[in-house]
């Protein structure tokens, strides 16, 4: 009874080595996809959403006002579905704004918090969770399941899109990189990281709906402003101003290209 089982086991063992060696490369991407599916249910971004929701309802800042008085584009106090329509034109500031710049606006004008304070350290780090990023987590979570619907009806929205499109192809720096150098072709990757092509509808949609996200390798929730910031760093560019017109124009270019996709954030990334 023992010999046949041993023989079978040995061949299974050989076969598995064959699989692991010969198919290592093609399976690497599959395994990564499998891993991602396994952990997709346990997204620590939920904690950032919870923290954001608590803070949102709390009267804060020198003026002791809660962010519930903030207008994110669908009217004061409406958070549900707001992110799926951003960036957009806001009459009260007479400009196109993304989520972060709108949050800065509300935190400064409603709550009285100095802009310098908010922008000084806007990204999370070691034992540091800036309020603005928790707001981002909460707000984007309230658009989960909502269809992306960025409009280009206002002339400033149209212009912002066109400017974003041109920033996207601006080659500069010691590497001659533009955003399009990595994000302008189908089916390419950097090391093992697939690169979405933002000139391709499917790629744009898949990429945009998965950010902001919890970055497992960094153990932190990362906002869209952070994503743009870190792209420019790797592009060997100088640093973009937080929530500046440059970043908003890029954001509306990418968000609009993702229209009609169902927003799925906050996402979970490697």
């Amino acid at each position: 009874m023992n010999a046949p089982i041993l023989k079978n086991g040995f061949f299974v063992f050989l076969f598995s080595i064959y699989c692991s060696v010969v198919l290592a490369e093609s399976n690497a991407s599959d395994e990564i996809a499998k891993y991602r599916e396994m952990i997709s249910d346990g997204n620590p971004a939920e904690f950032d959403e919870m923290r954001g929701e608590d803070l949102w309802k709390k009267p804060s800042g020198p003026n002791k006002v809660s962010m519930q008085k903030c207008d994110l584009g669908k009217g004061i106090g409406i958070v549900k579905g707001a992110y799926a329509e951003l960036p957009k034109y806001f009459p009260d500031t007479d400009r196109v704004q993304d989520l972060e710049s709108r949050l800065v606006f509300c935190m400064t004008t409603l709550q009285g918090i100095p802009e310098k304070e908010i922008i000084a350290k806007p990204f999370g780090g070691d034992n540091y969770k800036p309020d603005i990023e928790s707001y981002v987590a909460y707000v984007v979570g309230q658009s989960k399941g909502v269809k992306m619907n960025v409009s280009l009806t206002h002339p400033k929205e149209k212009e912002a899109y066109e400017i974003g499109k041109r920033i996207f192809t601006y080659r500069a720096g010691p590497y001659d990189f533009a955003c399009s150098t990595c994000h302008g072709q189908d089916n390419i990757r950097i090391r093992m990281q697939n690169l979405p092509n933002f000139n391709n509808l499917k790629d744009s949609q898949a990429a945009y709906i998965s950010w902001p996200a919890y970055r497992v390798s960094q153990g932190l929730f990362r906002s869209f402003q952070w994503r743009l910031n870190d792209c420019f760093r790797q592009q060997r560019f100088p640093e973009p101003q937080y929530a500046s017109e440059l970043t908003i124009d890029l954001a509306i270019f990418m968000a609009r290209n993702a229209n009609n996709a169902i927003y799925a954030g906050p996402g979970l990334k490697r």
Partner: protein, 103 residues
């Protein structure tokens, strides 16, 4: 009291599947901060899941477990509506306990 956990529990064919998402920094004690100083070890050491007064999972967590651990486990038995409680202790003596109903 540690940070709240997110727990989900459901029954499928006589097996209860429990998914626990914990909030904890899980510092190994080997990492250096931006100034080059060692960040002291701070991590969960024990985890216990209890159902109907019986321990259904007992674990010893060490430095190999990552930040914000996500754990999925199954045990035999469990009926919709019954309670599962999960609790942990960390090396600083901090604890956290959360309870959820099996859906």
């Amino acid at each position: 009291m540690g940070n709240p956990m997110r727990i989900r529990a459901s029954v499928q064919e006589g097996m209860t599947e429990v998914k626990v998402l914990m909030q904890h920094e899980m510092e190994t004690g080997l990492r250096k901060d931006a100034d080059g100083k060692l960040v002291p070890a701070w991590h969960i050491t024990e985890l216990k899941a209890v159902h109907n007064g019986k321990t259904v999972l007992e674990g010893q967590f060490g430095t190999a477990v990552s930040k914000n651990p996500y754990l999925v486990f199954r045990f035999k038995g469990g009926v919709s509506g019954e309670k599962i409680s999960v609790n942990w202790v960390d090396n600083k003596g901090d604890t956290r306990s959360d309870e959820v109903e099996i859906s």
